[in-house]
Amino acid sequence: MTGLRYVYAVCRPFGTPLQAQLTGVGGDPPRLVPHRDLVAVVSHVPEADFAEESLRAHLEDLDWLTAVARAHQGVIDALTTVTTPLPLRLGTVFRDDSGVRSMIEAREENFLRGLDRLEGRVEWGVKVYLESEPEQAPERPAPQPAAMSGRDYLRRRREQTRSREDQWQRAETFATRLHANLAGFAEDSRLHAPQNPTLSGHRGRNVLNAAYLVPRGESEAFVEQVERTKDDSPGLRVELTGPWAAYSFAGEEAAGEEPAGGRTAGEGTT
């Protein structure tokens, strides 16, 4: 009757209180549901919005999804400043606090293992973009393709194709080297699918989309390392985002056994 429980993350108990004005999904402040050695961070959300059917419908609504995604990320971000959260995927919802507790209990070991692994680490995102095709074809005296002879036209096309291929080659070499370099520096790394430039609203073609797990203390050095590459390569743009909670590194272990059919009571895994 006080709504459903939207779970953002699982953490170890932390001393520092969250910012008082922090709000989560739907404007409800994040609350803590402690259980044994773990704490779930939850918000109360209205059943009208988060029951199965309405949630499914809402998720197709980009405005709604954007608001929830930003709220979710906002809470995770706030948690990252005071502890190391294990972020859950958007839309993890339980009926009540006791449902949340039995979920924690069922996955306690995985959570603890994951938290140990990520303790004190953050994620940095690095993307490389190939800036839009160069306008200047080597020789192109007049912008009047119709007046060009077939042979000139053909030659121009060949040159353009070649320069585009060169660019790709260069972008790939650059991205490969950058990734090797950063992966060597980081504790762990993940390559993500390149982002569709349309959703990101970024110009240029995304040729590298990677995440790096870096201890907080080494973040400054990591950032410098990325910054240093930025001027290296004309036509290529390096973009750094972070520090994020270790989203890209949180999934594997805890996702191991998915209790199909909502079997959330802990019965051991054997």
Binding site: F50, E52, L59, L62, R70, R89, R157, T198, S248, G251
Partner: protein
Amino acid sequence: MTTPSRLPDPYGQGSSANLADILERVLDKGVVIAGDIKINLLDIELLTIKLRLVVASVDKAKEMGIDWWESDPALSSRARRDELARENAELRERLARLEELEPRRAEEETP
């Protein structure tokens, strides 16, 4: 160009954070747990979202710099025009190749 600050400031985050970066993480990464409310996020791949977006509000999408469908012939008349332009270019290329052969043949013919 490197101005090392003691603690790295957040890069590309906050309210201006790239929506794609956020969605990529909160929808696609992170720990997956089946809650009491069963939702299969795979049903709402980002592509679906984008497609819906096109149907829902083209102007808004453009405002956000989203215009990928414009190059998709199935969705855009301009893309179909581009497709014609491409075909046209292909034909020109073939013509050019023929033209290249032509002088030689002409030489052979005239003694």
